[in-house]
C-alpha cells in the first residue's frame, strides 16, 4: 500500500504543470556604491588617446542634448531598472533618458539588412540552467553614450553577451562581455550586482532632461570651471 501511495503521490505532483520552470528575474533592481566590479579593458593600439577623446566629445554631446543613452549606460542608472519577464520576451525599462530594452526569447536576430540600428541593439535571450544568456548586436555606434565601463566604446560592430543570474532572491548578477574587432584586443568583461528594491517600490518618472535649459548647458559645457 505504501508503494501504491508513493506512486500516486508522484503522479499527482508530476501531472501538475509547474507555473515557472526557469527563474523569474522580474523586479525593480538597483545598483549600490559597491555593485560594480570593472577591470580595465584591453584596447587595440588603434584606439589612441585621440580616438578616445573624440568618443568622449561625442558622448558629452549626447548627454548635453538629452539623447537616448543606450547601452551600456542605461544599465548603469542611478535609479532602479524595471525588469519584467514574460513568456516571449523580457522588457527592461529605465527611469532615465533611455528606450526600453526588449530581450526576445527567439533563436536568431532579425535581418540586419532591414534592421535600423539602435542605441540598445537587438537582443535575443535563452536560458541555460539558471542563467539567462542575452546576445545583442545591431548597435548604432553614432548614437547615445557609447563609452563602456573599464574602457573602450560601442560601435556598430559591437557584440554584447550578458549573463543574468539570481545569486539569491535579492541579488541579481549581470556579467557583460563586449567584443568588437575595432576596439578590444580581447573580450572585455565586467560584472554588476543589482539589489532588489523594496517590494512596494513604485516606478518613478525619469529625472527631467531639458536640452534647452541654458543653466544646465553652461554647467555641462567643456569650458565650465565649476564653483557656484
Amino acid at each position: 500500500m505504501r508503494r501504491a501511495a508513493c506512486i500516486l503521490f508522484a503522479v499527482v505532483i508530476s501531472a501538475t504543470p509547474s507555473a515557472q520552470s526557469s527563474p523569474d528575474i522580474s523586479g525593480f533592481w538597483e545598483l549600490s556604491f559597491d555593485s560594480r566590479r570593472v577591470p580595465a579593458a584591453s584596447l587595440l593600439p588603434a584606439v589612441t588617446p585621440a580616438v578616445l577623446a573624440k568618443r568622449t566629445e561625442h558622448d558629452a554631446h549626447a548627454i548635453r542634448w538629452c539623447n537616448f543613452l543606450g547601452l551600456p549606460m542605461a544599465m548603469d542608472s542611478p535609479r532602479p531598472i524595471n525588469i519584467r519577464q514574460g513568456r516571449r520576451e523580457i522588457v527592461i525599462n529605465f527611469e532615465t533618458v533611455a528606450t526600453p530594452r526588449h530581450l526576445y526569447f527567439r533563436p536568431s536576430h532579425p535581418n540586419m539588412e532591414i534592421f535600423d540600428p539602435t542605441t540598445n541593439g537587438d537582443s535575443i535571450a535563452r536560458w541555460e540552467g539558471d542563467t539567462l544568456i542575452v546576445d545583442t548586436i545591431g548597435f548604432d555606434g553614432g548614437k547615445g553614450v557609447t563609452m563602456i565601463p573599464g574602457g573602450g566604446y560601442r560601435t556598430s560592430d559591437s557584440h554584447l553577451i550578458e549573463r543574468f543570474r539570481l545569486l539569491n532572491d535579492a541579488l541579481l548578477s549581470v556579467t557583460s562581455t563586449w567584443q568588437d574587432a575595432k576596439v578590444f584586443r580581447t573580450p572585455h568583461t565586467y560584472e554588476f550586482r543589482y539589489v532588489r528594491a523594496p517590494r512596494l517600490y513604485e516606478a518613478q518618472p525619469p529625472l527631467a532632461c531639458n536640452p534647452f535649459d541654458e543653466q544646465r548647458a553652461a554647467f555641462l559645457s567643456p569650458s565650465a570651471t565649476g564653483g557656484r
Binding site: R2, D24, R84, E89, T99, T119, A203, P206, N210
Partner: protein, 290 residues
Amino acid sequence: MENSNCKSCETPSNRAFAFCILHFALHAKPPILGVLLLLTLATTLAAQRQSAAPAPGTAAVPDLEGGWVRIDIDGSGSFNGLAAKFPRAVLTPAAQAAVAEQGKRAAQPRFDFARDPSKPRPAGEGYVVTDGNCSLPGGVEPNSAAFHVVQSRDQVLIVRENPGLPRTIYMDGRAHPDLSRLTPTAVGHSTGRYDAGTLVVETIGLAQGNVTAGGWRTPETRLTERYRVSSDGRRLTTTYTWEDAKIYVKPHTYQIVAERTPPGSWAFESWCDSSDPSQRLSIVPPAQKE
C-alpha cells in the same frame, strides 16, 4: 503515528517540511494514515505549483504579450479624425468651461508659418513647426506608434515606441496612494486585475488635460480600461471609461482597437536629437527646375 527521528523537520523551508511529512507518512502506523498524509501532501504541493499567477492565454488571463498597433476601424481619413465617430463626452458646465479655455490656448499659433499662410516659404527655406524638444509625456491611449505589453507575475508593463512614460500596472493588489502623495503625470497610477479573460485597469493621478472625444480630466478623475483579446489572438479591443462627478454627467466611454504585430517583429527605437535643426522642420520646398 510512530514517532520517528526526522532531522529535516527542524528546517523551516517548505521543501524540508514536505520531506518531513513524507517521512512520517512512509513510516506511519496504520499505513492508511500514511496514504492519507501522502495524498494531502501531494494535493497541497500541486496547489502551490499552480498558485503563481495563471499563465496568459488561458480562459482567465488574456494573452496580451507582444507588440500592438492601433488600427483605424472607422476609416477616419487622417490621424486627427481617428476619434471623430467616438461618442462625445457629456460634460458638466464647469468642465465645459475648462475645455473651452484649453481650446483657446491650443489655438494660439506658435510658429510664424501659421500666423500668415499667405506667404509661402521660398525654395530651401523649411517650415519650422516644433521647438525641437524630443521629450513626450506619453499617455494612456496608443497613438500611431506600436506599443508593447509584457505580463509578469505582479505587474503588467506597457511601453510605447514613441518617447514617453511607460504604463506600470500593479497587479499585486496594492491600492492607489492617496492623491496628496502622487505627482500627476500623463499616465497616472494604475492597478489591475484579471476578470474572466479581461485585464481591468484602474487609473487615477492623471495630469489635468483633454480627453479623447471632448472629455476632460484632473488627477481625481478615474479611468477604467478593459483589455480584451479576440479569440484568434490578433486583435486587442480596449474600452476606456472616464468617470468623475465634477466633470462628466455620465461615464464617458469609447473603444480603441489594435492589431498584433507580425510574429518575429521587433521593437523600434524612435531616435530624436534636439541639437539637429531638422528636428524642428517639416516641409522644405525644393528648388524647381527652370
